[in-house]
């Protein structure tokens, strides 16, 4: 309870106690004050408690030397020719933001595209994807200085094939060690 309430309570008790003793002594007889009898106290055995185990620090990942996917930072994917962050991607980035704030380490956000379109325009589009993911993380409190941005365009694909499924896999913002 708060200190001021406690003092108030003590004051009330004190006054009450004083009042009681004064009121109790209202008869004509003089109060007899007796010393309380000494209480026999058992000898106190000093017990040394067993030493507490050293508190163990929780095991943290070696963030600086690990690929971000190894400590839970996941990639986000994009629609064809687009760099908008989808609802699904927002969920992934929310989790990434929490982990990255905890880790406090710098990561590279790399933009990728599927093989359609020209080499140069895809590098520019990849950068837009990486920056969109980066900006969203910054808006959730990840320090901007901890997020570097680059783009490989179509030149470093994850899936080597030429199907829709391969293309979808390659349209992403990927997190890597800088």
């Amino acid at each position: 309870m708060k200190k001021s309430s406690m003092y108030r309570l003590m004051l009330v008790v004190f006054v009450f106690a004083m009042a009681l003793s004064v009121l109790g002594g209202c008869s004509k007889k003089p109060a007899v004050v007796t010393e309380p009898a000494p209480v026999e106290q058992a000898p106190v055995e000093v017990v040394t408690p067993a030493p507490m185990p050293e508190p163990v620090a929780p095991v943290l990942p070696d963030y600086a030397n690990l690929d971000p996917s190894k400590y839970g930072v996941e990639d986000v994917f994009f629609a064809y020719d687009k760099y908008d962050i989808s609802d699904v991607s927002m969920g992934v980035l929310n989790t990434n933001a929490r982990i990255l704030k905890e880790a406090g380490v710098t990561v590279m956000v790399a933009g990728h595209c599927d093989e359609r379109g020209t080499i140069e325009y895809n590098i520019a589009l990849g950068e837009k994807r990486a920056k969109a993911a980066r900006d969203y993380l910054v808006s959730l409190g990840v320090p901007a200085t901890n997020l570097k941005v680059t783009s490989y365009g179509e030149s470093r694909p994850f899936a080597a094939g030429h199907t829709e499924s391969d293309w979808a896999q390659n349209r992403r913002a990927h997190f890597e060690r800088p």
């Binding site: 359609r116 379109g117 020209t118 080499i119 140069e120 325009y121 950068e127 680059t150 783009s151």
Partner: protein, 425 residues
């Protein structure tokens, strides 16, 4: 150990003692008149004569045979000649010219001595004679050098036999800069830095190759000295440092930088200092390419919603749109004469090479859908040929196209993708 630029070495090794002035024939007849007005589409008929080995030794004989084959091939590939002895019987063509040569061992040892001659036909007036002393690695270069002289003397044109293409080869995490002679020989690898290197561009004097590399973990602009192989970092701004294009006078470059937020076109010095920012917009601006007059440039912008071609002057004024057909147009380049514009256009499933006048007239689709994805066309200095990348075989390879005659020639082979070619000047 890789050799970097054999023709630079040749420059020191050549001992060109013979003059190239037209020679007077015996008897004091008048100087030969050379008609330079023949149009490019009309071919000049040339007869390959004897390339005589003046001694029996193997090196001399092989040199003679090799010289003859390479000179003939160079003249054929120029598109300007029909070459007798390479598909035509001598009697079938009304030849105007003939070439012959002698190759002999040199007294005292060392490189062989080669004399190459260009004469009129049938009267055999000597128009051009050249003497070379090529080392064994320099025989092709010697042939190329002479072929260019023949093009100049016989047709008044600019030969491309000494030109080369730089390009990016590799897959996955590693793409390196390679160079190949224009005829497909002499492949050299110039970088081996275990990362992505792409979009090379030759300086006009051929001494430096600009390219984008992800060395050091981020994009940067680098120059490679072609004589020494040394690589130097020029720029590593935050974001894109992409698509460098040397100006025709070699004094500056165009490049796309996104350090300001989104990619814009800048002019920079070869030392990496920004001269001027040319575009200001929230859109993507990339793929800048100088006009041959050095006063304006073509580039790509998606300010209209999708990538289209625009022109602007060197101060950033006078922006005007150039392409109105197709949803996605990129990678433009004006020909050396400024008469043609080549670029890549994307339809749904393929990307095609288009050639047209800069004003949009005479628009021609160069590669049909069987060529699949075609990108990054680059002009030869003759303004007649261009090189581009196509994955028609399943892997991206380089092909040469003749704008005057049509016709394609595969330039590179093998299993690794070749992309972003640049033809030397």
């Amino acid at each position: 150990m890789t050799r970097i630029l054999r023709w630079a070495v040749l420059g020191f090794a050549l001992a060109m003692s013979a003059a190239s002035a037209p020679a007077l024939a015996q008897g004091g007849r008048a100087e030969v008149k050379i008609d330079h007005t023949a149009k490019a589409v009309l071919k000049t008929d040339l007869r390959m004569g004897d390339f005589r080995a003046l001694s029996g030794d193997k090196e001399v004989q092989e040199t003679a045979a090799k010289l003859r084959a390479v000179v003939a091939n160079d003249l054929l590939l120029s598109g300007l000649f029909r070459v007798g002895g390479a598909g035509f019987k001598p009697e079938e063509l009304p030849f105007s010219w003939t070439i012959d040569a002698t190759v002999e061992a040199t007294a005292g040892g060392g490189p062989v001595t080669v004399n190459l001659n260009l004469l009129t036909w049938p009267d055999r007036q000597l128009v051009l004679t050249k003497r070379y002393r090529p080392g064994t690695e320099q025989v092709r270069t010697t042939a190329h050098h002479f072929a260019d002289e023949v093009v100049r003397a016989a047709v008044g044109g600019e030969g491309i036999a000494l030109t080369r293409m730089a390009f990016s080869r590799g897959a996955g995490n590693r793409r390196d800069i390679f160079v190949v002679d224009y005829d497909g020989e002499g492949l050299l690898r110039l970088t081996a830095n275990r990362t992505l290197n792409l979009c090379p561009d030759w300086s006009p004097d051929g001494t430096r190759l600009a390219f984008t590399s992800y060395r050091g973990g981020q994009q940067g602009l680098y120059f490679l000295e072609t004589a020494t192989g040394q690589v130097k970092q020029i720029l590593a701004m935050e974001g894109l440092n992409l698509g460098a294009d040397w100006s025709p006078d070699g004094k500056e470059l165009l490049i796309s930088l996104s350090k300001g937020g989104d990619p814009e076109i800048y002019r920079i010095t070869p030392e990496g200092k920004i001269i001027k920012r040319l575009t200001v917009s929230p859109a993507i601006e990339i793929s800048p390419s100088w006009a041959p007059n050095g006063r304006e440039l073509v580039f790509t912008s998606d300010s209209s919603g999708t990538p289209q071609l625009y022109m602007i002057d060197r101060e950033g004024a006078g922006k005007r749109r150039v392409t109105f057909e197709g949803k996605y147009n990129d990678s433009a380049a004006l020909s050396p004469s400024g008469e043609w514009l080549v670029y890549a256009t994307r339809e749904d499933v393929v990307t095609q090479i288009i050639v047209m006048r800069p004003g949009g007239e005479e628009r021609r689709v160069v590669t049909d859908v069987s060529w699949r994805n075609c990108e990054d066309p680059s002009w030869a200095p003759d303004g007649r040929h261009l090189v581009f990348a196509s994955d028609r075989t399943g892997v991206s390879k380089l092909y040469v196209y003749d704008v005057v005659e049509g016709g394609f020639r595969q330039l590179t082979f093998g299993n690794d993708p070749d992309i972003t070619p640049a033809w030397s000047h």
